[in-house]
Point group: C2
Chain length 192, copies 2
DNA sequence: GTCTATAAGCCGATAGAC
DNA sequence: GTCTATCGGCTTATAGAC
């Protein structure tokens, strides 16, 4: 018999690739870099991930799952009031940008650096954005406010700004600013 | 003497490079592509721009000048009231994202795709963002509102969101949303 | 480990104005 | 013919892929 495959190879490679992709951008990272860092051979990487495009897609897909889990957990603690759930969702996103080595949202970064949004990874990234936006719209729709479309559009704009501003110089307060503004908009919308 | 140099060579190359860089991202565009499109030889490009990094820096520097001119023109028509000048500034930025082939802010895109912000181009991009933010802060400071820092931070977040959201699917209304929200924040801040 | 494509950058070759 | 702006192939490194 031959050597048994290490069980966590795929995850280890994906971990390594994810770190590099996030820190340096997808295009700037070569397959050789990932191989060196993951301490695996080329054939092993290419057995698990048939191409770089596939590896990138898996990186984003896993990020989507991870984010989805975080948001689901935040939602569990938020009770059933739609406005509370909305705030909890924005809080969870705001928490995500607070890391000192935050370098932007992986999906937004991918869409900014790759022009073609119709490949596999691009569809995951745009899908994530559309899902996030739809989630906000659904929460707002359940809130019975006067102009739900306006409120949802505004919150979406702030969420976009949150992820972008936090990655820029002097963006350390973006999370607080976004949260306070969303809270105020929600409060005002429900008061009327 | 001998053959005269074509007068607009440098501008033509820079025009071509700018279009390609903006449409496909800086990293995805090769020097050969620029050479082919600009219908010039390699030596000519390398005589005008000693390296790709220099060419990218010139692309961003020219964009900064162009944007600066647009904003200065908008400011000329805005009168002297700081709140009107602030609104005019945001209107000018909102107009900029309305193009059907808008693919994001060139500076923000560059920072998203290149991790190292300490090279020549990166300093131009971060400088542009810091200048824009400072301009907003200065307008707000001149407005004599109760909490100028909060207002400026909020408007900056919305401006970041404007540029990001407009490049994403379904972002066609981002300009209107951002403008109406900024107008409302300014109005509320001055009412109190 | 090797192979092919392509990147950035360099230099000999070409050609057009005097 | 000569001088120089410009061209396009060449070199080396590195990419992705088998």
């Amino acid at each position: 018999m031959a050597r048994r495959p290490a069980p966590d190879t795929r995850e280890r490679i994906l971990d390594t690739a994810a770190l590099l992709f996030y820190d340096h951008g997808v295009q700037a990272v070569g397959m050789q870099q990932i191989i060196d860092r993951a301490k695996c051979g080329k054939s092993l990487l290419y057995r698990e991930f048939p191409s770089k495009a596939e590896l990138v897609a898996e990186y984003l897909e896993r990020a989507r799952r991870d984010f989805g889990r975080q948001y689901a957990e935040a939602d569990d603690h938020a009770g059933s009031d739609p406005s509370a759930r909305l705030i909890a969702f924005v809080e969870a996103m705001a928490e995500g940008v607070q890391s000192p080595d935050y370098r932007g949202c992986p999906f937004r970064n991918y869409l900014a650096e790759v022009a073609d949004h119709d490949d596999s990874a691009g569809r995951i990234a745009t899908g994530y954005l559309l899902d996030t936006r739809a989630r906000i719209e659904n929460f707002v729709a359940d809130m019975n406010v006067a102009a739900p479309d306006v409120l949802a559009e505004r919150i979406w704009l702030i969420v976009e700004g949150l992820h972008t501003a936090a990655a820029h110089p002097g963006g350390g307060r973006a999370a607080d600013v976004a949260l306070s503004l969303v809270r105020e908009l929600v409060r005002d919308a429900m008061r009327v």
